[in-house]
Amino acid sequence: MTNRKGVTPHEAAKVADGSMLYLDGVTVSFDGFKALNSLSMIIKPGEMRAIIGPNGAGKTTMMDVITGKTRPDLGDVLFDGGVDLTKHDEAAIASMGIGRKFQKPTVFESHSVYDNLILALKQNRTARATLFAMTGKADEDRINELLELTRLTAQRDLLAANLSHGQKQWLEIGMLLAQDPRLLLVDEPAAGMTDAETAETAVLLKEIAKSHSVVVVEHDMDFVRDLDVRVTVLHEGSVLAEGTLDQVSSNDRVIEVYLGR
């Protein structure tokens, strides 16, 4: 696949050198409607980036493209400086080290919190391996660590269906971490949370960002302010502005988009 400038993935790879995630000219249309319109963005290793933008700006679609759920019509999507993600499916991309939290919290409801984490643990994912998989001490320790981190130790044996909305969000973040990914894509982690939970989630994500590259999509401006990272504003499928939160929120076009609706 070549992008709009006719750059081959090979050449693009040179530009993408040293990046964790590289999007260039990514376009996705649904029946002629462009959900992503020549979107370009670079995430550096170890960076945490917040993505904001009004509903329908294409934030979730961008994550779909990165994780292999949606194939772009045009553009390059490169991981780790050169792996062409448009050539792989969801399972392969997840195994490369890209973890994703959905906008709507999605955990395995009829499994316990513990089993949800077991399933997410980094391990051989083939059917044959899981048939004979045993949980060792190292796995137990890691799960206990994650339970602690996501404050779910007391809920260890509870079915995920019985968790509160906020706890499900946290469990899903815990599952993300269990995968030990290199890049985390987190779609609206604070949605439906109380103010206190939202603040704690920001603390948790900042903790995670110390050792991972993270892309967070969020609406909540206070939350984004808490994160205190570089912000990209999406609008109608492309980047409207990029910079610190103060910079982008004083940008005239951003104000127009947010206040104009």
Partner: protein, 397 residues
Amino acid sequence: MAKAETMTEANTTPRYSSWVLSALTDRTSVSVLGAIGALAIACVLLNQLPESSAFHVPTYMISLFGKYLCYAVLALSVDLVWGYCGILSLGHGAFFALGGYAMGMYLMRQIGDRGVYGHPILPDFMVFLNWEELPWYWYGFDFFPFAMLMVVVAPGALAFVFGWFAFRSRVTGVYLSIITQAMTYALMLAFFQNDMGFGGNNGLTDFKDLMGFDLRSDGVRNWLFLSSAATLAIGYILCRLVTTSRMGKVLIAIRDAESRARFLGYRVEYYKLFVFTLSAMLAGVAGALYVPQVGIINPGEFAPLISIEIVIWVALGGRGYLYGAIVGALVVNIAKSYFTVAFPEIWLFFLGGLFVLVTLFMPRGIVGLVGETIGSAYGSMKGSARRRAEAMGGADD
């Protein structure tokens, strides 16, 4: 903290033996296997009593029970794919029938030259059709081990090829159910053809011997019945091993949230393919044991309605417990045997009505309801809360 500490200690070294052992010896398994064993032995012993005794179980009853046990194995195979992986197969009758045909072909070859036409090799229906020689795909079926191999290979291969295309193309839900119906329907039409070489609409029948022993003898009847019980026990253990392994957890994860499982890196299609093929093989074994006990296999076994009925057994017994499927198959078929004699016209209405009632009022089936009743009578706070949670978790899919 101290609690977490002891928990990890118990699990320090991974042990396969504990997995296998618990599949065999945990309370559920012991109850199920014990019940199967006790019933099987009791029936055979009661069959030995003199006919004058009030407790004598006649041999035809033994074969009838044997047939029910085959249905229970079939239901088990459906529960494995539907209850644990969310694959609502409405075509498992086809796998059952294929296993049955493989056994039927062996039994036909056992007739030898004792057919009505006395042909040394060809079964009667081929002589009747003026065929000169045995079709190539009948070769080897006079050899028992080969026929038994085909009992699992034929349905397994069909399931594998079918699943390969369906699961890789991500056909799910009602679309998958519909194409499984189409599959069994197409096979039914094919097997009706005389040219197929499987006896057309008469199917395969008039069997005489099994491994040289007279099929009508009490000994062989008892032996077949015990084999069916053993198959049910082994099938149960097999399914239990799969469902209590980590793979079992992945299967449930796929059932609950397929795309989440994909984004965790699980290749959903291969899991489905594995469990679907395994289940088809189990259904094939059930069919193979069924045929000598009922004495016939014909294309009617491929009828789409039969596959739907199997799903009803499982739903009624309780989906996702394994033993629920066994209970469902036994209860429905015992009721069916009674109703089709006593009130033949209303059987289908009865079955349909039962299904509607269960779906509406007993989403966890008979065993779920019984479990809840016992749970609320004796249950500790924790037990009943968990059961309620399970009921909630499963009700939405």
